[in-house]
Symmetry: C2
């Protein structure tokens, strides 16, 4: 397989959502044109993206939904289960623990940590909150590859370092901090303000109908 550019990688989740929805509705095939219209991309773009995975639509039939779904999952890595460490069990951590989408999508929270002694030992769904002082040992022992960082901004860098040293390869970061980490660790920052800015941009640039 050719190496996949970042922009294509970002669109893979879009394709995955669409294919899962189609598959759930019993749809067997989809044309690149129908896919592109639903996703707001150009027809040529969709065909180019899918060609990266060695998948080519058949004329008059389009793409086989189930086959393509399997390929996109394999490329995204979601054809296996990923244990995730959740660090920080405040309001955000609790909301993430309850987040209904995770279980359907190959990611499951395998350990929860907090530095607050009052929270350690409490039940968090089927788990118990563990002391943040055990973070390094437990994450290493369980070989957990992914972590969600839901700690205050001033604690984020320190926790991220410990996660990286324990072998974590990817961090979903909710703290408003740019983490400095070795290159082998990927960071995905969630910044709600960016999304609000996109909304204010659209409102400002769209004529209001009265």
């Amino acid at each position: 397989m050719k190496s996949i550019p970042k922009a294509v990688a970002n669109r893979l989740s879009l394709y995955l959502r669409l294919l899962e929805r189609l598959h759930g509705n019993g749809v067997l095939t989809i044309s690149s044109r129908a896919a592109s219209e639903t996703l707001g991309l150009s027809d040529a773009q969709v065909r180019r993206d899918l060609a990266y995975f060695g998948t080519f639509g058949q004329s008059g039939i389009g793409y086989l939904v189930e086959e393509l779904l399997g390929k996109v999952r394999a490329i995204l890595g979601t054809d296996r289960a990923w244990p995730v460490a959740l660090v920080g069990y405040g309001n955000l951590g609790r909301a993430l623990m309850a987040y209904a989408e995770f279980p359907h999508r190959s990611f499951h929270i395998a350990a929860v940590f907090d530095s607050d002694k009052a929270k350690v030992g409490r039940s968090a769904r089927q788990l118990k909150v563990q002391s943040a002082s055990r973070l390094f040992t437990r994450v290493k022992q369980l070989r957990i590859p992914l972590a969600i960082l839901a700690v205050p901004a001033d604690a984020a860098q320190n926790v991220a370092w410990r996660l990286a040293r324990a072998g974590v390869r990817g961090i979903l970061n909710f703290a408003p901090v740019r983490l400095q980490l070795p290159k082998r660790v990927f960071v995905s920052n969630i910044d709600f303000t960016v999304s609000l800015e996109q909304l204010s941009f659209h409102i400002r640039h769209t004529k209001r109908k009265s």
Copy 2:
């Protein structure tokens, strides 16, 4: 000003973050090359994007940080204050209320609603949680243009409709639901799973050093 493509709009937040950081550090000018290297874009891309705003770097000097910052803010609409309605005061709602980034960035939560009678009347920072039954009246009265939807999936569509009818133009949606709304209402969906998929993708496609 020319109409701005969506991809450019998405990059505006990136430019804004960079310019704010530079400005905070007292940096006066930046070259398109330095900006592109920091942001991981091509030099030509940055120059093309900035040309949309009628801003052209001067040879040997680059762009004036403060001037460009003002322009990007004006285009994103963040040169004014945006009141935001927060709907849903569970764990996620509480985490969003405390989210340290909002106050710095032109967005402030002006009203909080929940359908749970036990929560109505409680203090939420400087506000009080209001009954969701008052949503339509209050949002309309206060002319609130933006809302954050932090309610369970099965309530999201109904609440979104009421927000749209009350005049809300943009919704930041945390519920794992595709909202059906009139075209005049923009929706920005936050899907944590997409970010986790990007991490699993990178881990799968990067050779591990032992």
